[in-house]
């Protein structure tokens, strides 16, 4: 894999209906699962699959992205045998920022021409899964595919916005539509694509010259008849976290032990930026059940069916249910949270009662005091 496959994490125009959660950050760095950011999943998938050359095409609001990814060392991408790049947009003026990913990849075509690898995995950051990409490459070669799309058969509810895919008997993709399309199919694209590096460059240059803007929507979807585009079936857990509803839904799914075990451990571990937080402390009177709790938390109250990120303080008598409290949040004495999502550094003073609804969690913006 090492010298044959490179990874591209494409953040250009990522679908984003995450509302307040992306007010100051890109979807890639939305905190998830107690200590992760969304992009950790695809980063770890690539690294665990033996890919050691990875580029992140940043687009907007990427300060937190730079901070989080740094040199790539937490994903073991910072050594002599690896390469890690964050490629910010190269634009003449702010109008160019609106251009599609084809334009931005074209601006960085040197990055591709300087690479040695035969194949490229192009993926998004908002797709939560734990996948070994080596069998995908093997499948791609065996099928003689031009492009392989990692797909997931929707057998139970998968919220969020997904592209739908239709395949014929040979597993070749015959139709692909954006989420709002009428295509009647339960097959979803995980937005993980495999193709040869020279084909990618060709698609970038040709499609752009033809007036197209977007790699998948235009360059790929308009050529389904000319290119052999195949579907690889992914069987594991999939979360498409591009809406607030989906964010909340997938966070709550982590509270099932089977999902927690699969998503974080199998087939490979998910890595993130490590912090030196002490272990979580549960004081006398703490009641915790059906929850995930990160290091650095201090729990004096009750936490049920909730996700606590690093460094959260739940004071005496506070009750947290069905909620997500991000890094360094403080929930004051005797306050009640139900169906709430608190962004980082939110302070709930004592005696507050904050409730959202099951399908519509209350969201508190970063650093807010309530």
């Amino acid at each position: 894999m090492k010298n044959r496959v490179m990874g591209v994490i494409n953040l250009i125009h990522e679908p984003d209906e995450l509302e307040g959660l992306t007010a100051g950050r890109c979807p890639a760095t939305v905190p998830f699962g107690g200590r992760y950011r969304l992009i950790d999943f695809i980063m770890s998938n690539m690294v665990n699959s033996g890919i050691s050359r990875v580029a992140v095409f940043a687009h907007t609001k990427f300060r937190s992205l730079m901070d989080h990814l740094g040199s790539g060392k937490h994903w073991d991408l910072h050594n002599r045998q690896s390469d890690f790049f964050i490629l910010p947009p190269t634009t003449e003026d702010s109008q160019d920022l609106r251009r599609g990913d084809l334009y931005h990849m074209y601006q960085n075509r040197d990055y591709f021409t300087r690479s040695q690898q035969e194949f490229v995995v192009v993926a998004r950051s908002h797709v939560i899964c734990n996948i070994d990409l080596e069998p995908v490459i093997a499948f791609h070669e065996k099928q003689g595919a031009d492009i392989t799309v990692v797909c997931k058969r929707q057998t139970s509810f998968i919220p969020g916005r997904s592209r739908k895919v239709e395949v014929n008997r040979d597993g070749r993709i015959t139709a692909m539509q954006d989420h709002f399309g009428r295509l009647d199919s339960n097959l979803l694209s995980t937005e993980i694509y495999v193709l040869r590096r020279d084909l990618l460059l060709e698609l970038v240059e040709t499609s752009l010259a033809q007036g197209q803007e977007h790699l998948i929507r235009h360059a790929v979807m308009s050529r389904l008849d000319k290119l052999n585009v195949c579907a690889y079936m992914y069987e594991g857990y999939l979360g498409m976290i591009n809406t607030l509803e989906s964010y909340y839904y997938n966070s709550m799914q982590l509270l099932r032990a089977d999902v927690w075990k699969e998503l974080f451990f199998h087939p490979g571990p998910i890595y993130t930026k490590v912090k030196d937080e002490p272990p979580a402390r549960y004081l006398e009177g703490a009641k915790v059940s059906g929850s995930i709790v990160a290091n650095g938390c201090i729990v004096e109250g009750t936490v049920v069916n909730s996700v606590l990120f690093r460094g959260v303080h739940v004071r005496k008598g506070a009750v947290i249910r069905n909620s997500i409290v991000m890094q360094n949040g403080i929930v004051g004495e005797n306050s009640v949270l139900d169906y709430a999502v608190l962004d980082k550094d939110v302070v709930i003073e004592h005696g507050r009662d904050i409730r959202g609804a099951a399908g519509l969690p209350f969201v508190a913006a970063k650093r807010k005091t309530i």
């Binding site: 075990k261 912090k275 030196d276 002490p278 979580a280 549960y282 995930i292 996700v307």
Partner: protein, 388 residues
């Protein structure tokens, strides 16, 4: 390499015999403590926060896991262009080599390492104590008193004083006498095993001590008494705060339990004095719907389905349904089976306690130890230790 004001020499060769099965394959400084740390993290973090960037770690006994853990020192900010961390094991020279004969001999054999930095002062510390201390303040004290050597001292309860090396001091903190583990103590100022020497003075005494064939080449037994006899300037740096020598099973257990107080004397949460360690990469801990947790500390990667009360749980531990863990310390990646019960037990890393096994008893005061990677189907074979 530029000149350094002070270089730290960290003695990490301790065998830790009294920790029994926990140090069977592990040097004492590498023993786990406090939910995610190893004992040596505390002194290394102290160095990092005290602005010391050159640390020699003297290893000897079972160094494999310790060396692997320390790496190039990056978790403690010791991967530096100038200085940084150096692991200093005994080595073979042209005319043969010898083990470190004693603490002083260990430094003697590495005088070349210290000279490379040409320091004014040398800090000698030990990797088996748990405490937080700013060595910069101690150095300021050393300079102010014009001492040749400064020894950190802590007041211990009188009834425990006979377990320590105690020092007699005058009104100006000048040391007038030493007593090693006195039967009837006449002072309760214990030496914490933390010394700052002016380097030329230490160098002179190390060379002299090495020439003395009768010497046991030990700081406490030989170097310091010799300096006292010669009337060198020796001062105590009085330290107030948490300090614990975790040399025995009981003291290791007690030190872990100390962390569970509502306001522990050793505050691990202080953002100004973080204890750095090699942080494992594990997901946030999962507390199952039927679990019950109180007065405990638990680390990432754990999956808890039973009861945890007054216990310290390290990363990656899984405790099955209806298990009970009370007043216990469970080290990394151990498995506690469904319905298993642990009372006052230290479980080594990777150990497996089978379903339904009970270790200890709710009313008993002894601490039971399960070694690393042990499989326990029956608790009768385990070592029990009376607390002191």
């Amino acid at each position: 390499m530029g000149r350094k004001q002070m270089v730290a020499m960290l003695l990490a060769g301790g065998e830790g015999k009294r920790l029994g099965v926990l140090t069977k394959d592990l040097a004492k400084p590498a023993v786990y403590f406090g939910g995610k740390y190893r004992i040596i993290d505390f002194t290394l973090s102290n160095c990092a926060h005290s602005g010391i960037d050159t640390v020699g770690v003297l290893t000897q006994y079972q160094p494999l896991e310790l060396n692997r853990y320390l790496g190039i020192g990056s978790p403690w900010g010791l991967d530096r262009r100038d200085g940084g961390m150096a692991i200093l094991p005994p080595y073979v020279k042209q005319k043969g080599g010898v083990w470190y004969k004693g603490t002083a001999n260990a430094i003697y054999q590495n005088m070349g390492f210290i000279d490379r930095s040409d320091p004014e002062y040398v800090l000698v510390i030990s990797g088996d104590h748990i405490y937080k201390m700013d060595y910069e303040k101690m150095l300021a004290h050393h300079k102010k008193t014009g001492a040749d050597v400064t020894i950190a001292g802590i007041e211990v309860p009188w009834k425990e004083a006979s377990r320590f090396g105690v020092m007699h001091v005058d009104d100006e903190d000048r040391i007038t006498a030493f007593e090693e583990k006195p039967k009837v103590p006449t002072s309760n100022t214990a030496s914490m095993g933390i010394y700052i020497f002016s380097w030329p003075v230490l160098q002179r005494y190390l060379i002299r001590d090495e020439a003395n064939r009768l010497s046991s080449n030990d700081f406490g037994k030989d170097i310091l008494p010799a300096m006292l006899k010669d009337g060198m300037n020796m001062f105590v740096y009085p330290f107030k705060g948490y300090w614990k020598d975790v040399g025995t099973i009981e003291s290791l257990w007690e030190a872990n339990m100390d962390l569970l107080d509502d306001r522990p004397l050793l505050d691990l949460t202080d953002p100004e004095w973080r204890i750095y360690s090699v942080s494992p990469n594990r997901p946030a801990q999962y507390i199952a719907p039927q679990a019950r947790i109180a007065s405990s500390i638990i680390t990432e990667g754990c999956l808890i389905e039973g009861e945890v009360n007054r216990s310290v749980i390290f990363y990656g531990v899984q405790a099955g349904a209806d298990s009970v863990i009370r007043e216990s310390v469970v080290m990394p990646n151990a498995r506690v089976g469904a319905g298993a019960k642990l009372y006052r037990t230290i479980v080594g890393d990777g150990a497996v306690i089978a379903d339904g096994v009970t270790i200890g008893h709710p009313d008993q005061s002894t601490v039971t130890v399960v070694g690393s990677d042990e499989f326990v189907a029956n608790h009768k074979t385990l070592l029990e230790v009376e607390p002191s």
